[in-house]
């Protein structure tokens, strides 16, 4: 009979412990974003910008996992024909999202420089970028982060589009400007 209350206590506390293990220590929301790719050709310099990225971050046991996603079609280069061509060469109809994942120690979230290992999913391929530096400024609750992802066409097996038979440069650096808030 003495064992019954003990068992009941164990059964009651077990789900509570499990819920505690799953709930995040801290969560982050992406409030504002500007992603800008740069494309170079001997006759053209083009920037395409998206402000449609969404993002979340979740911290557990001292580690924070972040996810940022942006629709490929949301990039605007100022020319609708070029944007549709970009969508075609990057297989944006088949793989409509760019997804970026990275993990940071929770203790580093307030530092002025963030060193990130990025996993980028784009055009049906995944590329890894190690030690990408982002600069952070904190104003109140807003964490403003800027940096450049050194992406290339070959990282994602994208055939370079050409104009007058001359292909664009392989480098397509993406300037990242994000504002995060803890929720």
């Amino acid at each position: 009979m003495k064992r019954l209350p003990l068992l009941a206590i164990l059964l009651l506390t077990l789900p509570v412990a499990s819920v505690h293990a799953q709930s995040p220590d801290q969560a982050w929301n992406l409030d504002q974003s500007t992603l800008t790719y740069h494309m170079s050709h001997p006759m053209h310099e083009v920037d395409g910008t998206s402000r449609a990225a969404r993002g979340k971050g979740v911290c557990h046991a001292g580690q924070c996992d972040f996810l940022v996603a942006a629709p490929v079609k949301s990039f605007d280069s100022g020319d609708s024909n070029r944007d549709l061509h970009m969508l075609q060469v990057t297989r944006g109809a088949q793989f409509p999202l760019i997804q970026v994942r990275f993990r940071l120690p929770q203790g580093s979230l307030a530092s002025p420089t963030l060193d990130c290992d990025l996993e980028v999913e784009f055009a049906g391929n995944t590329a890894h970028y190690a030690h990408v530096q982002f600069h952070q400024t904190i104003e109140g609750n807003a964490h403003h982060i800027v940096g450049i992802v050194p992406a290339t066409l070959t990282d994602f097996k994208i055939d370079p589009p050409s104009f007058l038979t001359i292909p664009i440069k392989n480098d397509i650096p993406v300037r990242v400007d994000l504002t995060w808030h803890p929720s």
Partner: protein, 168 residues
């Protein structure tokens, strides 16, 4: 992805839509290539126009006029093939055109009627010269219409390439 507030329409890929985009790009690449090649007969027809009118009332020598007619016909045929690939390319967006492509499309309203009118007026002028008459009436607009057509055609090529920043 639903957590991020992205809709299924934004997250789900479509191989069918990708195939449509691929077809569109292929057809517009052919359009671009043919369009650039068409510059050659258009330019040649414009240059050969200098020798087309009868010199000092000599209506008998038709060689340079025949060359001009042949080059003009080639230009119109090539232009027709170029236009075919643009017209037949699948439409994938209903959004209004932005940037250089907008001007490229506006200029169609000048060079497309021009490419129809120029050979008609040219044929009228040709017949008038062959029958020993001076070119008169609406046929005398052949040169002006042809020039406007060629200029707007060149402008359409520049518009779709704009802005140009040459950097090697």
């Amino acid at each position: 992805m639903g957590d991020l507030g992205l809709t299924p329409a934004e997250t789900e890929g479509s191989a069918q839509r990708q195939a449509l985009l691929d077809r569109r790009t292929h057809m517009l690449k052919v359009h671009q290539r043919l369009g650039l090649i068409t510059v050659i007969p258009v330019a040649a027809a414009c240059i050969s126009a200098a020798g087309a009118p009868p010199e000092h009332g000599n209506y008998g020598n038709t060689t340079s006029r025949d060359v001009h007619v042949a080059l003009g016909a080639a230009a119109v045929a090539m232009y027709g093939a170029t236009a075919y690939y643009a017209i037949r390319a699948p439409k994938v967006s209903n959004e209004p055109a932005r940037g250089g492509i907008k001007w490229h499309k506006y200029l169609i309203y000048i060079h497309a009627p021009g490419m129809v009118l120029t050979p008609i007026l040219g044929a009228m002028a040709f017949n008038q010269i062959n029958s020993g008459q001076k070119v008169h009436g609406i046929a005398s607009a052949h040169g002006g219409v042809a020039a406007a057509t060629a200029i707007s055609y060149g402008a359409a090529i520049v518009a779709v390439s704009w802005p140009i920043h040459i950097k090697f």
